[in-house]
């Protein structure tokens, strides 16, 4: 992340744009936006030193609602865009926002390799276990028995386990939050941003329109009973065996972030261009 400017106490409102979100009333993503602005204020970074990058989906609207630099990219490609940005502008703090469809399905392969590369950025996935924007198709994290007209008889497919995949692929920081706890989520986002390397934060964010049953999440979530481990083996066991509602920082790795030296190759671009001349 960029150097923290401690001289100015900032307010969350400074990071909010003038655009009103068009999410459904009651959507968990409102809370996530609140957590973003609270976290940015706690970090004390000027808005122009933060970039929020996203793909497509309800959650991916978030860059427009912040006052930071933003990039609303193509479906599933937010991590590729963010990686390019961070590698060329390591001075910026890069936060990537996605949903379970955009992040785990369309962008699933980018997810694996972003974890593996371990570039210093924070990846936030607002997981509601459904494709909300396109009216309720099952997503990779939808439960097997989700039985609707769009998935008659249930999906009959085992849901994707993003935290396990992140750990196995090399993410350096893994946490799970609940949108209904914006203060706690903001605190985790601050830690995730400060932690070197690729930080993955899954936020359970209910879709009140297509998954009204998710309103009960607020009664199911609970703080993780143990503190974060630095041991990937222990983390794997914990994440594999928890109930999916364990909140908090679950893993803090110590891998060196990948950051190629920008401009260190001494390659003259005009020389390269010659090969492509017509």
């Amino acid at each position: 992340m960029s150097t923290v400017d401690t001289r100015v106490a900032r307010k969350p409102a400074e990071y909010k744009s003038d655009i009103n979100p068009i999410w459904c009333p009651g959507c968990g993503d409102y809370h996530v936006l609140m957590s973003f602005t609270r976290a940015f204020a706690q970090l004390g970074l000027p808005p122009e030193q933060i970039v929020v990058v996203s793909g497509i989906g309800c959650s991916s609207r978030i860059p427009a609602y912040t006052n930071c630099y933003g990039f609303h990219g193509v479906h599933g490609r937010s991590l590729a865009l963010a990686a390019g940005l961070k590698v060329t502008r390591p001075d910026l703090t890069v936060v990537v926002a996605s949903g379970d469809g955009d992040g785990y399905s369309i962008g699933g392969n980018h997810f694996l390799h972003a974890c593996r590369r371990n570039i210093d950025m924070t990846y936030v996935v607002m997981d509601n276990h459904i494709y909300g924007m396109t009216k309720g198709q099952p997503s990779p994290t939808t439960e097997t028995g989700f039985d609707t007209a769009l998935s008659p008889g249930g999906t009959r497919v085992r849901p994707f386990h993003p935290l396990v995949v992140a750990l196995a692929s090399g993410a350096n920081f893994i946490a799970r939050c609940f949108s209904g706890e914006p203060n706690e989520t903001a605190a985790v986002l601050v830690e995730a941003t400060k932690h070197p390397g690729f930080s993955f934060v899954e936020i359970l964010s209910p879709c009140v329109t297509f998954r009204p049953d998710e309103k009960k999440w607020k009664d199911l979530v609970h703080p993780a009973p143990v503190t974060a481990t630095t041991d990937p083996g222990k983390a794997a066991r914990r994440i594999m065996t928890d109930d999916g509602f364990n909140l908090g920082i679950l893993y803090r790795g110590n891998r060196e972030p990948f950051q190629p030296a920008v401009g260190a190759t001494n390659i003259d671009l005009s020389e390269l261009e010659k090969d492509f001349e017509l």
Binding site: A9, N20, P21, I22, W23, C24, P25, G26, G28, Y30, H31, M34, K135, G136, T148, A149, L150, G180, E181, P182, N183, E184, P206, V208, T209, F210, K215, K218, V221, H222, P223
Partner: protein, 176 residues
């Protein structure tokens, strides 16, 4: 999880004023957020109700600021008034918002918030060791009790809607 879980520690009068100020500020933020949502979804009646509630809470916040005199209550609130594993007691539940909700529903949210704030300040009266804190908390209890009464009075204007209030002839859910 309880909305008052992990409440900040109130050791002296300044702490209490800071926490009270933060509670009002959070309530303003939340009501304005709900008003914004309703604006987006063309529920003009609710926009007015939520903006009025935000204005009322803002006035209370200013009163606390005035009571604090030269003491920088805002800076102190930023430092100590953190409600962990929950939110300020007076914040309305965002998850309860619905695009077809009525003023009755909005006032129910408000009532729940005021009652939580009342219970919070009551708990401070009961547990505080410092007499000044006890006295100020008792004043805040009085104030919150007045707010509860006010919401009850407003509710007389807006009767409970029929059970079909959420019925939409063109619903967004295609799954049935």
């Amino acid at each position: 999880m309880s909305k008052t879980a992990g409440s900040p520690k109130v050791a002296n009068l300044n702490d209490l004023l800071a926490v009270a100020y933060q509670i009002e500020t959070d309530a303003v933020e939340r009501y304005n957020l709900l008003a914004d949502q309703m604006e987006t979804h063309n529920n003009a009646e609710l926009v007015k109700v939520f903006r009025d509630l935000a204005r009322a809470e803002g006035i209370h916040g200013e009163e606390i600021r005035r009571l604090s005199g030269d003491f920088d209550v805002i800076a102190h609130a930023r430092q100590i008034a953190k409600f962990e594993r929950g939110e300020s007691p007076e914040e309305a539940e965002l998850g309860s918002a619905h695009y077809l909700m009525t003023p009755w529903h909005a006032l129910q949210l408000s009532l729940a918030g005021e009652e939580r704030a009342l219970a919070y300040f009551k708990s401070i009266v009961e547990t505080a060791k410092d007499q000044k804190v006890k006295d100020m908390a008792a004043e805040l209890v009085e104030e919150e009790a007045e707010h509860v009464n006010l919401v009850h009075r407003l509710l007389r204007r807006y009767p409970q809607p029929s059970e079909s209030w959420a019925e939409d002839l063109d619903p967004p859910v295609p799954q049935e």
